[in-house]
């Protein structure tokens, strides 16, 4: 791409387009974010990407804010703002118009069919996100064990996810990993 000269326009273009392809939400788009930020543009390395994901999960707000962190690392505060608005804007406009159309024809069965068709896709994408993130932290078997334990805890209990994240952080601080 020749827009490399201006990082802001690259961010806007990249995330604006990604916004429209993020089926199933921000967590489904993580593989694509990883591909673009690490492999295509070399904005960061694997480890930094894993860090940024961790920070985005630790901070409050919608998951999409991982793009704020990516944007910041590329072009500071302006980059953070540009990436966030680009990732949210196009799909927000789309959602606005589609909801207005559907309000008029609420009996349509297409929403149900589209949803049924897209659910497996978004689960597959999120699974791929998990795999790519696990590989990019690449910390060995103890790390794998912590990941597995967190997954089981979150799956089987109603524990607030913050505690699981903090427990992971504490184990990391203690030098277990």
């Amino acid at each position: 791409m020749n827009s490399d000269g201006n990082p802001i326009s690259t961010l806007v273009w990249t995330f604006g387009l990604m916004s429209l392809f993020a089926v199933g939400g921000a967590n489904s788009a993580i593989p694509e974010m990883h591909r673009i930020a690490v492999d295509v543009h070399h904005w960061m390395n694997d480890k930094q990407f894993a860090d940024i994901f961790a920070i985005s999960q630790l901070s409050p707000g919608p998951n999409v804010l991982i793009v704020t962190l990516i944007g910041y690392s590329v072009a500071g505060v302006a980059g953070a703002l540009a990436a966030t608005l680009a990732m949210c804007g196009p799909t927000a406009v789309l959602a606005y118009y589609v909801s207005r159309i559907l309000q008029r024809s609420s009996q349509s069965r297409w929403p149900a069919i589209i949803q049924a068709a897209l659910v497996p896709l978004s689960i597959g994408l999120m699974g791929a996100s998990g795999l790519i993130l696990a590989l990019s932290s690449d910390l060995g078997w103890v790390a794998g064990l912590i990941t597995a334990a967190a997954a089981v805890l979150a799956f089987a209990t109603r524990l607030n996810p913050v505690w699981i994240l903090l427990a992971g952080g504490a184990l990391g601080f203690a030098g277990v990993i």
Binding site: G25, I55, Q57, A80, C88, A95, G124, A143, F173
Partner: protein, 206 residues
């Protein structure tokens, strides 16, 4: 579910047969902004739970059914679901300005926090203790993500939805293992999945 709402304004008389566009409580622009900012800042690891609590239980701006319908719509649209929800929700009450107010509340304050954290990370990211903590948090966060994946898979497994599971696996391999670009995969997978789903439903209906 009609427990007495202590926080709803006195003018709000429950009127179940009003159309969805005129629910009993009508939030103003500032109210929308503040409500979504609160939900968002409370939402560690996902805002949806808090959005439901705020919109349905606390403010009674929507019934549970309306909320589910609106969320279903926002879930099948691309992009961050909860962001879509804020825009659709806000605009339903106050037009474009309402959508922007809800969106700004949802994204604005946490974005400021995320930017500050990003700046701290850029500055102190190489400190050893911080690196270790983030590595631990990262492991746990990946685990949380996987738990969500399994939770979402359970209905497909229970329904023995073989087609869905095959599509799921194919997407997982294409993106996770082969690392193909998202657009390419979706341009093949979305029409395919839509076609199969439509075909199967036609056959069931017939």
């Amino acid at each position: 579910m009609k427990s007495p709402a202590s926080e709803s304004p006195p003018a709000a008389v429950p009127a179940p047969d009003l159309p969805a566009s005129h629910p009993p409580n009508q939030p103003g622009l500032l109210e929308l902004f503040v409500a979504f900012a609160k939900m968002s800042l409370a939402g560690f690891g996902g805002v949806l739970v808090w959005a439901r609590r705020g919109i349905v239980d606390q403010h009674r701006w929507m019934t549970a059914e309306e909320f589910n319908e609106t969320f279903a719509l926002c879930h099948f649209l691309p992009g961050p679901n909860i962001v879509n929800l804020s825009v659709v929700f806000g605009s339903r009450f106050r037009g474009v300005a309402g959508g922007i107010a809800a969106f700004a509340g949802l994204v604005g304050p946490p974005m400021v926090i995320a930017t500050i954290l990003a700046a701290l990370y850029a500055r102190y990211g190489e400190i050893d203790a911080l690196r270790r903590i983030l590595a631990g948090v990262s492991c746990a966060a990946v685990g949380l993500l996987m738990a969500v994946v399994f939770k979402m898979m359970m209905p497909l497994i229970k329904k023995r939805d073989l087609v869905g599971l095959v599509i799921l696996l194919a997407v997982f391999i294409a993106i996770g293992l082969l690392r193909l670009p998202l657009q390419t995969v979706l341009l093949v997978a979305v029409p395919l999945s839509l076609g199969i789903t439509y075909f199967l439903r036609q056959r069931v209906a017939a």
